[in-house]
Symmetry: C2
Subunit: 260 residues, 2 copies
Amino acid sequence: MKFQEKIKDSAENKNSNIVLALDLPPQEPTLLLKKALRIIETVQHYICAVKINRHLTLPLGLFDGVKKIIEATYSYGLPMIMDCKINDIGATNQVIAQYYFKAGFDAITANPFIGWEQGLKPVFETAKNYEKGVILLVYMSHKAACEGYGQILKDENGKLTPQYVIFAKKALKWKADGAVVGATYPEKIREIYQILNEKTPIYSPGVGAQGGKLQEAIKAGASFIIVGRTITLSKNPAETAKKLRDLAREAKNRVNTTAL
Amino acid sequence: MKFQEKIKDSAENKNSNIVLALDLPPQEPTLLLKKALRIIETVQHYICAVKINRHLTLPLGLFDGVKKIIEATYSYGLPMIMDCKINDIGATNQVIAQYYFKAGFDAITANPFIGWEQGLKPVFETAKNYEKGVILLVYMSHKAACEGYGQILKDENGKLTPQYVIFAKKALKWKADGAVVGATYPEKIREIYQILNEKTPIYSPGVGAQGGKLQEAIKAGASFIIVGRTITLSKNPAETAKKLRDLAREAKNRVNTTAL
């Protein structure tokens, strides 16, 4: 099954569009792994996917501790995303993508800034071969996102255009499986949603710890909400995840009702 | 000792400005580790540093196989660079940088596209705390480099400027320890060298397999030449490394003579 269908199915099954970002602060590897597995087990009913990052791959090892996390995640019927933000030359990108897909990830994130030829082309080809997904960064959630993603440049027709508009168009052209747009910038989600429409679902991180608002992000067009520290650092991760899931559901229903 | 001094010392000791990029194709992890260690041992006299990438960290594990590679490299008096091309949000970048520095790397590479606040600021701060280096990508070696690194944008004064010029200026402003500029684009090395001068040394990858010419890169202003597949896939890596070292030395001498 293709990644887009897989996560859509999972969102329907779990009745949730919350992606858990399992970004845990450094601690002793055995404890880190235990904590990661415990959080997934606790919140599994309220999320539709798990996304991990170098917080776990670097200390635990991709084919060691991370393998256990992938196995556990699958046993709960949840797809896994590796947020590796690929941005190397093509030959290296291909090796990176192969390792992550072989390890069991369903999708990886990539930075469109690297371009197509000898850049992301081998990543999309590898993803196709493995029947996996590629999610592109279109506008990130941090303060300096304006510095790169927000800069104004000359497009191929010589017209001044924001970088994120160029990236959103590339997401369509390259048939990306998703686009990352920070919940901290709902106006960017709205603008990017106008370009992508329903063809490329928007994944929105930055809710909570980074100041983004879940309901605004959904209202602006986000399909999936990525939540990390708000859940993982919460005293009761399951309760927090459930609350966020319910909030997101409400917001989604309101959007659907307005659209009718 | 600071990274810039460390690699300068190493280049003088080894009488070489060749950085070995140990980017080995996927194979069984035990054999991969053996091969990596064997190549470093063979070419140690002809190089000034070793750079590794996800080709090794993903299959071998940062605190497992890679640790052995770092130990071996140090035993030969060579500094180690992790080519991780950091481009995440600040909180994540900081965790990534900490893990690599704790593992023993002397410098990491980062993508200036991510910007400063909540982007690379925590990376430079972490590097300072650990007395390590940060090398910025200014113009990469692949075909599509023009798509991102070569795009024309409005700078802070509203003037149309190439992306790599903006990045080179950031390398100076942020006090980066190096700038990556592809040997496949000697004209870009020349232009970027005019901005950086001797303050930020240029590291130039893309020699050989990617078509870049070592001597042209040095003539244009590169301080260090990064060579991967030309050495690692060679029948006699030591001989090839020695040849490249000598070629680079000649080119450097010619530059110095012309400058007198």
